[in-house]
């Protein structure tokens, strides 16, 4: 600040009227009644991601070509970017603000590129905070169990994952076919956890190979055994040769077994298992078709999967249900179907299918694959933990029995990979709090990302004490200053053409290349987080904004800022807020 100049006599005055001081003597900040503040907010994509990946942040690094850093940011919250980049149903993209401008960002395709980058360069710079003595056991090496193990290990615990099957991965290993998720990708991401000190013991069934009571001897246990029992059709003829349960079918194929199917294969259902089964049957040389009792709009499968099945020319018969499977000498021959129509909405909100009297007809089939849903097999879990077919737990996976925590498909939550991963993370935090005599619920406010239940591991670990960020304020499209963005379509993901892909199990979708990943990441608005675009600095009429000494971000000189609000309005991404002065 320049000095105040005082003339005490005529003799003090200069011979010419020349100003010697600067206007910095005027603290024009006193004019201000609104105060601009740097205030990072939550991007809606992050709120939309059940694993709360810091998408905005890894887009920042990806756009600048620093994929190592992007990978580090990503795996802070989710240990399986290459897997999720392939199989996630990407609710982040449906929440993306860019969707209201041109098209949502191709988050999933960038995530995949970053995941593959991590594998290509064997990135595994995980850090264990401090080694701890406590031992934690996890039942089930699916995405939920492995995610929990990962985060617990990072917190320093000695973690052992017990897996009933021969290989870890759960449905990623035995459910999802390799044309969607090649085994080497899954295995490489799991191996990284093992290198990091997560112990995985396969071929060990909790409740059988390890008795429940012994299992409970650990300092804490996490249950993530998934749901794998295929629902029955409950129609005559279900035991005929040629009738196969969907998940068994996929599991045998995924284990490398030869499964021989006949020509006409009917797949019953409209979920992911049905789509995977029907597309697998097609690749085995059959002529499969989908039979579903509601319409396409009600199909629970990921939309991408439905579209790919359609592209592969798979016929889909809607509003039908099998009422009888007809055999000859114990072998399946035909299937009797009944037409349905949609009635009143049921408890899921979807309109309930009701049979149309006298509409039965018969089709010839060689195989029927049932894929009308899976149920939990809870024979090895104490009954008191179960209610309505799921393991009872709170938002952080705490069951009523200490030290038992649960996550993934066995608790009440959508059956998706990313929800499983998110629940593993939450349980890891809850276990940590429990083992340290705390209560995770008291931390919820600090670690929540947005308002949809997601939590940040970074905030949990670092504490972010004194962080002025109102973590819950989510940036809407109206908060974006679109003057600073130009319309541009998203990058297309490369895919195998239909003719070649249906003859084999080659991966259908490809990874975008480095240039495309950078270019696509540049489309990101970086909602709510300052990316140092300099707009505020450039547009301040009062020279009140300065780069910080470390040249990272800026500070406002409130001695002079008049509170015009230009910086706030011209911030493209709502990383500043205008707040009433004196509050």
């Amino acid at each position: 600040m320049s000095k105040k100049i005082t003339f005490t006599s005529i003799a003090d005055l200069p011979p010419l009227v020349v100003s010697m001081g600067t206007t910095e003597v005027n603290a024009t900040g006193s004019w201000r009644y609104l105060r601009p503040v740097y205030h990072d907010k939550t991007a809606p994509c992050i709120e939309g991601c059940p694993a709360s990946e810091d998408i905005e942040q890894y887009m920042y690094w990806a756009a600048r070509g620093d994929f190592d850093k992007a990978w580090e940011v990503l795996v802070e919250e989710n240990p399986f970017p290459a897997v999720c980049g392939r199989v996630c149903y990407h609710p982040c993209e449906s929440s993306c603000n860019r969707d209201h401008f041109d098209q949502s960002l191709g988050i999933n395709s960038i995530e995949r590129f970053i995941g593959d980058h991590g594998l290509e360069f064997s990135l595994d710079r995980f850090k264990v905070a401090e080694e701890r003595e406590q031992k934690i056991a996890v039942a089930g090496a699916g995405p939920a169990g492995l995610a929990a193990a990962y985060h617990l290990r990072r917190l320093g615990y000695q973690v052992t994952v017990y897996e009933k099957e021969e290989k870890p991965g759960g449905i990623l290993q035995y459910g999802i076919p390799r044309y969607r998720l090649p085994k080497h990708i899954l295995e490489a991401e799991i191996m990284r956890l093992e290198r990091f000190g997560v112990e995985i013991k396969t071929g060990v069934q909790v409740g059988k190979d390890i008795p429940w009571n012994e299992f409970l001897q650990h300092d804490a246990v996490f249950l993530a055994v998934g749901v794998h029992k295929s629902r029955k059709l409950n129609v005559p003829g279900e035991d005929l040769d040629g009738v196969i349960a969907g998940l068994d079918f996929l599991s045998r194929i995924n284990s490398g077994e030869d499964v021989s199917l006949g020509k006409n294969v009917a797949v019953i259902g409209g979920g992911n298992t049905a789509m995977d089964a029907v597309r697998t049957a097609l690749r085995l040389g059959s002529t499969p078709a989908i039979y579903y009792r509601r319409t396409r709009a009600e199909m629970p499968a990921i939309l991408d999967e439905i579209e790919e099945a359609e592209r592969e020319g798979i016929p889909m018969e809607f509003l039908v249900t099998p009422v009888e499977l007809i055999g000859e000498n114990g072998a399946l021959k035909a299937m009797k179907l009944q037409r349905m129509e949609l009635g009143e909405p049921d408890e899921s909100g979807r309109r309930r299918p009701v049979p149309v009297e006298g509409s039965e007809y018969v089709v010839e089939v060689d195989n029927v694959i049932t894929a009308i849903g899976e149920q939990g097999d809870f024979t090895s879990i104490p009954e008191k933990l179960i209610e309505w077919g799921v393991v009872k737990s709170d938002a952080f996976g705490q069951t009523e029995q200490r030290p038992v925590f649960a996550g993934g498909d066995i608790i009440e939550q959508p059956h998706t990979v990313v929800h499983a991963i998110g629940s593993g993370k939450k349980a890891a935090m809850a276990i940590h709090a429990y083992l340290n005599g705390g209560d995770i619920a008291t931390l919820a406010d600090k670690i929540h990302v947005g308002n949809k239940g997601g939590v940040s591991f970074l905030r949990f670990r670092d504490g972010h004490e004194g962080d002025p960020v109102d973590n819950h304020e989510v940036v809407t499209f109206e908060n974006i200053n679109t003057s600073y963005f130009t319309r541009k379509d998203r990058h297309q993901v490369p895919e195998l053409d239909v003719k070649t892909r249906i003859t084999n199990f080659e991966e259908v979708k490809g990874t975008i290349d480095r240039e495309a990943a950078m270019d696509e990441a540049l489309r990101c608005f970086n909602c709510g987080v300052c990316n140092m675009c300099d707009n505020c600095l450039v547009f301040c009429p009062d020279v009140a904004i300065k780069r910080r000494d470390d040249r990272f971000r800026y500070e406002i000189d409130y001695a002079y800022c008049k509170g015009c609000g230009i910086c706030v309005v011209e911030c493209p991404r709502s990383a500043l807020s205008l707040v009433p002065e004196g509050k």
Partner: protein, 295 residues
């Protein structure tokens, strides 16, 4: 986030100080900040009576890190001519002389001096920060005030029926070496043109559309937004004219409706549908003319 290499978008040194006396959100103050970033400290500024006489601060304080010569309302171009001649006499011909006047001091009272200096091709830069009225004395109309705009001397029942004077056309007719229009919403373009002006000998004229929140009846935080709308609606084209002949359009916006620009400002509140259609028509017609001049 860690450190990243910062590539400043515009020159970092500041030659304007905080604590100046412009209203919050003043376009003219931001304009000076950019101008001096572009010209650097080997510059002298001449300011006739206008808002900037006040913004610059009272004796013994100044808002600028370069010398300012305050002068009478009608004399900016004459004083600049004299100052340049005096510097030349002292062998200091590398100093950039910039006259910095409002629209009143340019289109109206200072017009004779400006036209004379332009005709003589004096070697200085004349900048008109155009806020489209006599703002410092309380929002009286000037010959720069656009058709239909409210001012205290063109109240709503006695509004301005004449169009804004075409100062760019007039200066182009003087065939001076360099003429440009700039907007505070396009800082890179702004700075490039000032740097270019500095490198050219002879008379340079730059017009800045300069939003004035109290005079235009806009919120303080809208100045950049409105500047951008002026360009996007083609009301204020960003252009350069060399020797009165070579026209360059620096930006060819898609052309949003003039309504977006007009509706954003209280001074146009009473325009009728017909008025808006008339303004749109005028803007379209002038844009076509401009396009012909460019090719």
């Amino acid at each position: 986030m860690n450190h990243v290499d910062i590539q400043p978008r515009i020159p970092e040194p500041e030659l304007m100080y905080s604590g100046h006396l412009a209203c919050p959100g003043c376009g003219a103050s931001l304009a000076m900040r950019y101008a001096l970033k572009a010209l650097g400290n080997n510059t002298m500024v001449i300011i006739p009576a206008c808002c900037w006489s006040i913004i610059a601060g009272p004796f013994p304080y100044s808002a600028l890190g370069v010398p300012i010569y305050h002068t009478a309302f009608e004399t900016a171009a004459a004083v600049a001519s004299g100052m340049k001649a005096a510097l030349d006499q002292q062998g200091k011909s590398d100093v950039t002389v910039m006259a910095w006047a409002g629209d009143g001091g340019t289109y109206d009272i200072g017009f004779q001096a400006l036209s004379g200096a332009a005709e003589r091709n004096e070697d200085f830069l004349y900048v008109c920060y155009d806020n489209e009225a006599y703002m410092n004395t309380g929002i009286q109309r000037s010959s720069s005030t656009p058709f239909g705009a409210w001012t205290t001397t063109t109240p709503e029942n006695h509004r301005k029926e004449r169009p804004k004077k075409d100062i760019v056309g007039i200066l182009a007719a003087h065939r001076i070496p360099y003429l440009a229009t700039v907007s505070v919403a396009y800082p890179e373009d702004f700075i490039r043109k000032f740097q270019k002006a500095r490198s050219i000998r002879g008379m340079k004229f730059i017009q800045i559309l300069s939003p004035c929140p109290p005079g235009w009846k806009t919120a303080d935080d809208q100045s950049i937004h409105i500047s951008r709308l002026a360009v996007e609606s083609r009301i204020f084209p960003l252009l350069e004219i060399e020797h009165g002949e070579k026209y360059t359009l620096n930006l060819e916006p898609e052309g949003i409706s003039v309504r977006d620009y007009l509706e954003a400002q209280g001074r146009f509140r009473k325009l009728s549908e017909q008025d808006v259609a008339y303004i749109q028509n005028e803007v379209d017609r002038k844009w076509e003319m401009l396009k012909r001049q460019v090719s």
